[in-house]
């Protein structure tokens, strides 16, 4: 790999920009591709293969028209933002971390978001829309709201729905969800955006305890990430 390619790759990693290093196994030439960005004049077949590999989050050998190419995927870490330092979040945060996600718990209510309740978890007391704007949501971000307080959940959802986040979930009953959709609609979000909200949140596995509900949410997030059949 050339020095400038390595420098570009490092810059992409720092900027949390998805990249695929395509190495021609015959010539050894390595090219850096950005699978989710428009690249006029690029080899569309190669870019398509790179996109597929990045989406699957799996490096692979690809047989192209010009020979064999190794596609090495450099995806930014998958991030789960949990809005609401509530009881379920206390289960969901460590579970998600075990599953390999980069977890952030956001709650301006300092009495909930304490180190004691969330040991080893990154916490912030910012308001969720401020925190989400600061970290920047992308296609490898998931957001789930849990406070049951519209003044905190709504701005988080509005920000998430205006981003590329692959998963947006909201804790709350069907009745709560209907009222929420109405409020968000008044904020200018259309039906297509609102349809992205998973709510009631979590896969229907009959979860009862808070830990079980956390499992159902985590499973739904992973399904959304991997394009599983339970994605919707």
């Amino acid at each position: 790999m050339k020095r400038e390619t390595l420098a570009a790759l490092r810059a992409d990693l720092a900027a949390k920009r998805a990249a695929v290093l395509a190495t021609d196994l015959r010539t050894g030439e390595a090219r850096l591709l950005h699978p989710f960005e428009e690249a006029p004049g690029a080899h569309t077949a190669l870019l398509g293969a790179a996109r597929e590999a990045a989406r699957d989050d799996q490096s692979r050998l690809w047989e192209g028209p010009g020979g064999r190419v190794f596609l090495r995927v450099y995806n930014p870490p998958v991030r789960l933002v949990i809005v609401g330092a509530v009881h379920i979040a206390q289960s969901l945060a460590p579970m998600a971390r075990l599953a390999g996600l980069d977890v952030l718990v956001v709650d301006p209510r300092r009495s909930f978001a304490t180190e004691e309740r969330f040991q080893g978890v990154t916490l912030t007391h910012e308001w969720p829309d401020e925190a989400l704007a600061r970290i920047g949501l992308d296609r490898r971000s998931a957001v789930v709201t849990m406070t049951h307080d519209p003044k905190i959940d709504d701005p988080a959802l509005a920000t998430a729905l205006r981003s590329d986040a692959f998963y947006v979930g909201a804790l709350g009953s069907k009745k709560t969800q209907a009222a929420r959709r109405e409020r968000l609609q008044q904020q200018g979000l259309d039906q297509a955006a609102l349809a992205r909200i998973h709510g009631p949140v979590g896969l229907p596995i009959g979860a009862v305890s808070t830990a079980e509900i956390a499992v159902s949410i985590l499973a739904q997030v992973i399904s959304g990430l991997r394009g599983g059949s339970a994605a919707r």
């Binding site: 209510r109 300092r110 007391h125 308001w127 003044k151």
Partner: protein
């Protein structure tokens, strides 16, 4: 008491007016306070002329009660001394506690918060902007 009683029209209107919302350049004092239980946050900046508030600005993240309270101060407090801020806060506390005299005179606008009396858990929402202004004034006076 229903949400409709608490968030009555005049109070919602006061909150929406958001008087004093924004940022103040060249502030002599600034303070941010939050309520750790509900997450409400109020930031106030003040500029003084002598012992009077010449100008103030605030940024509030919170419920309608908190917004309305900050808006009240944004409209009423410019021109006040620190003592008048304390007097207004005292009148508000008496109003929330009930049994106090009806709010009249310069602080008459506070009566918009009368329904909050019946919701003790929400008193902090109304007082938070007053406390943030008080803290900003304390900083301005050094």
């Amino acid at each position: 008491m229903s949400a409709e009683d608490l968030y009555h029209e005049a109070l919602v209107r006061l909150a929406r007016a958001a008087r004093g919302a924004g940022r103040l350049e060249g502030a002599a004092g600034a303070a941010t306070l939050d309520n750790p239980l509900c997450g409400d946050r109020a930031s106030f900046q003040v500029r003084l002329a002598g012992d009077r508030i010449e100008a103030l600005a605030h940024q509030v993240r919170g419920c309608v009660l908190c917004e309305a309270s900050a808006s009240f101060l944004g409209g009423a407090a410019p021109g006040w001394t620190g003592a008048e801020v304390e007097a207004a806060r005292g009148a508000l506390e008496a109003l929330l506690a009930g049994g106090g005299p009806a709010v009249v005179g310069p602080f008459g606008g506070l009566s918009v918060f009368a329904p909050v009396r019946a919701a003790p858990s929400r008193h902090g929402c109304v007082l938070l902007p007053f406390d943030a202004l008080r803290a900003a004034l304390a900083e301005a006076k050094g």
